[in-house]
Symmetry: D2
Subunit: 157 residues, 4 copies
């Protein structure tokens, strides 16, 4: 039985439309509801919306910031960790996850997906990435079920 | 008023004697008692002892691991974050702190003190480092008082 | 007029077939022939073949190694630079380039392409990546012409 | 027989007085005269002076920049490599060296000395660091002799 807490890294674009914002918000709520800690890049866009969602559901949020100043974090981050290593921190956002959830995003997000593959983390596809090796999910109901299943497996491993 | 949680990074050697182990244990308890989150390098020696102390007092512990595997963490780490960047993660241990407490240690610890200076974090000296710019403390009572003072300042800033 | 030397980062898989090996060899020769310094990840596969090609044409090769030991470099690396930061060094392989040439590869390569996009380096596509923002090239003749053009622009900027 | 080129990382303060500037200039000349490649942090102060010295003696200079822009390099850098990882690049300045020469400096320099210790590189002390494990040198003549000796050992290893 693992004693460490479960972490779910949610990755997605720093510039997003309302639809993705709503999606991120709901994903954050699901992560928190399942008792997992939300890890993200700590900045704006999908990172902010998913943190807001997690806080709304009473969760704990960690922001792995690229710079060296805690003030760079969005307002929904509980624990701001300035990595100081710029976008090389994408490696850490991926490796720090027990499970990764990928929302729509741009080059930063695809970079984190690549790291997730390299470090062999399960990656749930909520962003039409359609890549081999990702877990395709079509609804929030399915996301919650799949996350619960993966979390149970990790806890018992 | 800051909403983010307060983090205290405790740094010290990975190979320590019983006296330093006892010191680390008590420092961890104080950090947790003051409601701060303990951040450390997540491995053995002072990192393990301080995590054990924090857990004993009901605190939350974060381990910034050099590698990419959560299993590298000592058993008292709640949230294991594999940074993947080796000892370059020392920069992050320092920058992730609101306050740094330096126990006796070797080159890794002095490296983290240097980063603490570069990133202008307050650094409490519990390891006879005797360096300009560190805050010299002579007892655990004084440590608790000083930490409380620094935390209050940060919360109100 | 820029006085710094021109660097071309060639990225590609660490496990490659003979066809890609031959391609990498020829790309290395072209980079060296144009007077640019070859930068790569320093290990095997495409990294080794492109370094071999560059050496064959009298060029200078730099390997940005993930670990901390120069002995990890392939035998065609002149200047081995152990970054110590694991695959987070992919960010550096991309950012250290004036121009990136992408051969076929896997997650590490796509990660470096993402960083190339983030850091706005010109990226030549020799690996059927077919991504928006990359420069599609269909022959080694065209590669040489395009590289020469880009190098001339940088030298004069 | 090692085929890789020898690298000497020279570390020292970014703000220096005329005496240290003159020292750095002469150290750079010695490194180049011995046929080694100069590696440094690529910015101002001792980094600029040592690069100037190396160029004066016909050497090759590499700057491991903290940011992502080659334009941050001082004018004596031949090969600018933006690491993108901020001062975590100090780990790389140390690990990329076959031999480290430490000039007077501040926290960044002491950080690099710590990494040199961690990664077991020989570190020559030209900055009154007076630390166990460093090689104390008292004159530029002795520096040249010692560097030559260390280089010969590495080449033949």
């Amino acid at each position: 039985m693992r004693t460490q807490k479960i972490t779910v890294s949610v990755i997605g674009g720093s510039k997003i439309d309302q639809e993705v914002e709503q999606l991120a918000l709901e994903v954050g709520q699901i992560v928190a509801k399942l008792g997992a800690i939300l890890v993200c890049g700590g900045l704006g866009g999908a990172m902010q919306a998913v943190s807001k969602g997690a806080k709304k559901a009473g969760g704990l949020t960690i922001g792995l910031l690229p710079g060296n100043d805690k003030k760079d974090a969005n307002q929904y981050i509980d624990i701001a960790l300035p990595t100081t290593i710029g976008f090389a921190r994408n490696a850490m956002v991926a490796a720090s996850a027990d499970i990764i959830v990928a929302l729509p995003g741009s080059h930063g997000t695809s970079c984190e997906i690549s790291y997730g593959m390299v470090y062999k983390r399960p990656i749930i596809d909520l962003g039409n990435w359609d890549m081999d090796g990702m877990i395709k999910i079509n609804s929030l109901e399915d996301l919650e079920k799949k996350l619960k299943l993966l979390i149970d497996e990790i806890v018992q491993s």
